[in-house]
């Protein structure tokens, strides 16, 4: 028997108060009346004598005292703890795909399930946390053995990585010093590093604090973490990377990288299938443990291609990959006929793969035009806002996501300027500056202040202080306008190697902003950029899609969407598990597809089964010393509450009945 709140016993002071009030009330008042014949009915019958009468009259007092006593016990938290010998465990289970690795006919996951089922004591309670890329509480806290084993039997490891540090952080939230955290993994040595760092963080030296008077206070107790290895080292062949693209129209090329983990082995065979039809195969020499890249060429195919590595080995998950058709995003560019050196623009654009030119500015994704003095889209002005007679950029180029304005000659060069803070876009980290070397470019700018009308850019002049492009304020979110800090009439950039690179960067930048997803084949753990029309124009519409229907993200084989975006779709998807994913416009499985992509494992960490090992824990350490976990017995609480209610009712009843 324990008292959870001993201060509640102060309620016992109410007992003498009740007694005092009772005896005070018991004092008879005397009244003289004219006659008693009207009162004879009220004479108290005392059939069993005075003693019985006293007892009978004391019933309200007895019930009042009992009610006060019960209330005091309730306040004091009287409890007979249930299952006083039971202990709570937090089990952190490796949820990575490497747990699927089979050895001796059993996978690591099955070995973990068997070992835990065999070990788990019946009277104890459990919390099961899956250590995946994101930790997940599968069951608990305080689950019974049956609940624990039921959840364990339904578990299948399918995460592409195991973040033990985050999982143990979660486990420590559930665990107390008297508990044990059991870390079940196929790589106990790797997990041991995490355990060591977690225990070091909770060690007395690190967790003890110093009070104001300089004395060290007691350290905060941390739960003990015990690793349990269920893995087995094995040789493993794996596809660690694969992708497909079209080198030229009508042909399809698949590139795959295969690696041998463990001892050098026999050659393997990489086969490509379209459904059940084999498209081609190639032998892979795995005499070394170095990655081997394989190339397969086919006719252009618009269906998914499945790659399979044979023969089968310990981990089947990394022997297969599915590649969806690569995304073909063609960028359409329009070059203003008024631009000086227009031929140079056209030649550079034609050299960029996946680009085509158009004569219709309204159909262009990229617009390269002349910066006309006084234009509404000039520096410092809002595009399309100053002159109502001239159509705005959004009206003139409705499809364009990038507009570049170039200064034609020196006469209008007064509009050029030095970068000022946020409008600088041409920096070292800019996508437009990738692989771009401007050394040797005659770059005339600030003609009115510079000693020379033109200045050769040298390596000691930082790009960040002399920008090539300024970003102007745009009326719409998905249309960016850049102003070139360049006078076309007096620059040599067209004859410089930087020119085709700059044009390619401009085209690729526009390509990435075309509607749709960035890639169709992803590696596990890789982020996916989303540029869905709904997400791209969030300012104009609060709903996820333009017509108000929600966007849903489906994983192949699931009956419910993994995510639903009713208002705004994200621009980046991360933490996706392996498999085929589909984004649909609508909440049904049959809703139209907005985009689809494939996430393959491609993880050297998961495919490398060499660090796997088996390690039995010290079972004597599993049970905590001394302190045993107890559970509050709510039955006592409810019984006290019911008894209190009964006493109050009886006290009121007897009081009113005149006893």
């Amino acid at each position: 028997m324990t008292l959870l709140y001993p201060w509640g016993l102060l309620g016992l002071l109410s007992l003498p108060v009740i007694l005092g009030l009772h005896f005070f009330r018991q004092q008879r008042q005397h009244r003289r009346v004219g006659g008693l014949h009207l009162w004879d009915f009220a004479r108290v019958a005392t059939p069993a004598g005075r003693r019985f009468e006293r007892l009978h009259r004391s019933l309200p007092l007895l019930f009042q005292l009992l009610a006060a006593l019960l209330l005091t016990l309730l306040l004091a938290g009287l409890d007979w703890p249930r299952q006083s010998t039971g202990q709570s465990y937090v089990v952190v289970l490796d949820d990575s795909i490497s747990m699927q690795a089979t050895s001796s006919g059993k996978s690591s996951a099955e070995r973990a399930q068997d070992a835990l089922a065999k070990w788990a004591p019946a009277a104890d309670s459990y919390t099961l946390i899956l250590a995946g890329r994101v930790p997940t509480v599968l069951v608990g806290p305080g689950a019974t053995r049956a609940q624990f084993l039921d959840a364990l039997s339904r578990w299948k490891p399918e995460s592409n990585a195991a973040d033990f540090q985050r999982a143990i952080n979660v486990a420590q939230k559930f665990a107390t010093s008297a508990m044990r955290v059991l870390l079940v993994t196929d790589a106990p040595n790797q997990a041991g590093q995490v355990v060591f760092s977690a225990e070091a963080a909770n060690s007395p030296a690190s967790s003890s604090s110093v009070s104001d008077d300089g004395k060290s206070t007691a350290p905060s107790a941390a739960p003990r973490i015990i690793p349990w290895g269920v893995g087995s080292p094995a040789n493993n062949n794996a596809i660690i990377f694969a992708d497909r693209f079209r080198p030229e129209p009508g042909s399809e090329r698949v590139i795959a990288t295969v690696q041998r983990f463990g001892q050098p082995g026999k050659p393997a065979r990489l086969e490509a299938f379209l459904g059940d039809t084999m498209l081609g195969s190639q032998e892979v020499n795995l005499a070394t443990t170095k990655p081997v890249t394989v190339q397969l060429n086919f006719k252009a195919i618009n269906q998914p291609i499945r790659l399979q590595l044979s023969p089968k080995d310990a981990l089947a998950a990394d022997n297969e990959a599915v590649l969806l058709p690569g995304l073909q995003k063609t960028v359409t560019a329009w070059v203003d006929p008024a631009l000086p050196h227009r031929e140079s623009f056209i030649r550079a654009i034609q050299a960029v793969p996946g680009c085509e030119l158009t004569e219709n500015p309204a159909a262009a994704d990229v617009v390269l035009t002349v910066d006309r003095p006084g234009s509404a889209a000039n520096f410092g002005g809002t595009a399309g806002a100053t002159e109502s007679s001239e159509p705005s950029s959004a009206e003139r180029y409705p499809r364009a996501n990038r507009i570049y304005r170039f200064t034609a000659d020196a006469a209008s060069s007064q509009s050029l300027r030095i970068a000022e803070g946020r409008d600088l876009v041409f920096g070292e980290e800019s996508r437009l500056a990738q692989n771009l070397s401007m050394e040797g470019v005659l770059w005339p700018f600030l003609s009115s202040t510079a000693p020379s009308p033109s200045l050769a850019l040298s390596a000691d002049i930082a790009y960040t202080s002399i920008p090539l492009l300024f970003q102007e304020q745009s009326a719409t979110r998905n249309q960016a306008t850049y102003k070139a800090n360049l006078v076309l009439a007096s620059t040599n950039i067209f004859r410089h190697p930087a020119w085709p690179v700059l044009m390619m960067n401009i085209m690729n930048d526009s390509r990435e902003n075309l509607p749709g997803i960035s890639r169709s084949n992803l590696r596990s753990g890789e982020n996916l950029l989303l540029n869905l029309p709904a997400a791209a124009d969030r300012l104009s519409s609060r709903s996820a899609s333009a017509d108000g229907t929600p966007l849903t993200l489906w994983h192949e084989g699931d009956s419910k969407p993994a995510q639903t975006w009713t208002e705004t779709a994200p621009t980046v998807l991360s933490g996706l598990r392996t498999g085929h994913w589909v984004i649909r416009r609508g909440g049904s499985e049959k809703s139209p597809v907005a985009a689809e992509f494939m996430v393959n494992l491609f993880s050297s960490t998961e495919s490398d089964l060499q660090p796997m090992s088996s390690q039995q824990p010290d079972f004597s350490e599993l049970r905590a010393d001394g302190s045993q976990q107890t559970r509050q017995n709510f039955l006592i609480f409810y019984a006290l509450l019911a008894a209190l209610c009964c006493c109050v009712i009886l006290a009121w009843k007897y009081e009113d009945a005149g006893h």
Binding site: R25, R32, V33, G34, W39, A42
Partner: protein, 311 residues
Amino acid sequence: MGPTHSPAKFLPQITAKACEVNFLASTHIDFPTRAAVESLAQKYLLPLPREMRSPRPGELTGRRTGSSVEYQDRKDFSPGDDLRHVDWRGFARSDRMTVKLYREEIMPRFNIIIDGSASMGVTPQKAVRRLEMAMLFWLMARHLHGNVSTWLANGSAPLRLETPLDIARHPDAETDAPLAAMAASPATRPGGISIVISDLLFPFDPGRLPTLFGQPDQLLVVQVLSAFEANPGEGLQAGAMLRLQNAEAPEHLDVRLNSATVEQYLRRLRALQSDLADALRRRGGAMATIRDVDDLDSACRIMHTAGVLAL
């Protein structure tokens, strides 16, 4: 109560002075509620019955034919009529002998019967209220120039008092049958108006009570109760233990006062009052119950509503 006073203090004064002086002198006694009682006696009237048996000739005009000077009617002469009332002038004019009739003059007889048992003094207020009621009716009867007799009923032969103030000269009797000897007393002569002032908290048969007072022309009963007797639950905490001491006998009763007890007592009290009121109504009488804590105005309004007083 109306005027604030301490009955325990003024009662001895009344008693001492009432012993020395007659009624005329007693009107000069410093009586705390005297002004209020006299004012109410001027305001209200005693309701008289339509017919009164064998009243003495007096100053009050009756409804029947009599010998007063107030002309009432005329009728044809018949043998035996008083020749002094023959209208000779009319006989000379019309040759028809008629007799003038005059309204009678009566002097009503009042018997004020005051309960002299100890129960009327369970609270000082109740004792005062008995005195006030006796004085009120005595004054109203005097205003009617009636023949007023005041009787103190204390279980034995009723004592005739000079004035109601003489109550104080006689100690309250410890009897639970104060009206037992009324039947054979002069107070119950047939006719007249009997006014009974009592708490009626003694065992009696409500149907037979009016017969104790003979055959009065009118019987008016005023029941004076203390606040506790009228409603025991008022002002007391439910469940309180009480020892009820009988004022008229050395006996007591221990009761716990709760809602059920109070309800039962009130039911019995109202049944008693209802039965008695019905019996009185059958005899042309009336009954009113007043409390000692009510002020005099309220008490008079209650009595007027019940028909014990008239305006």
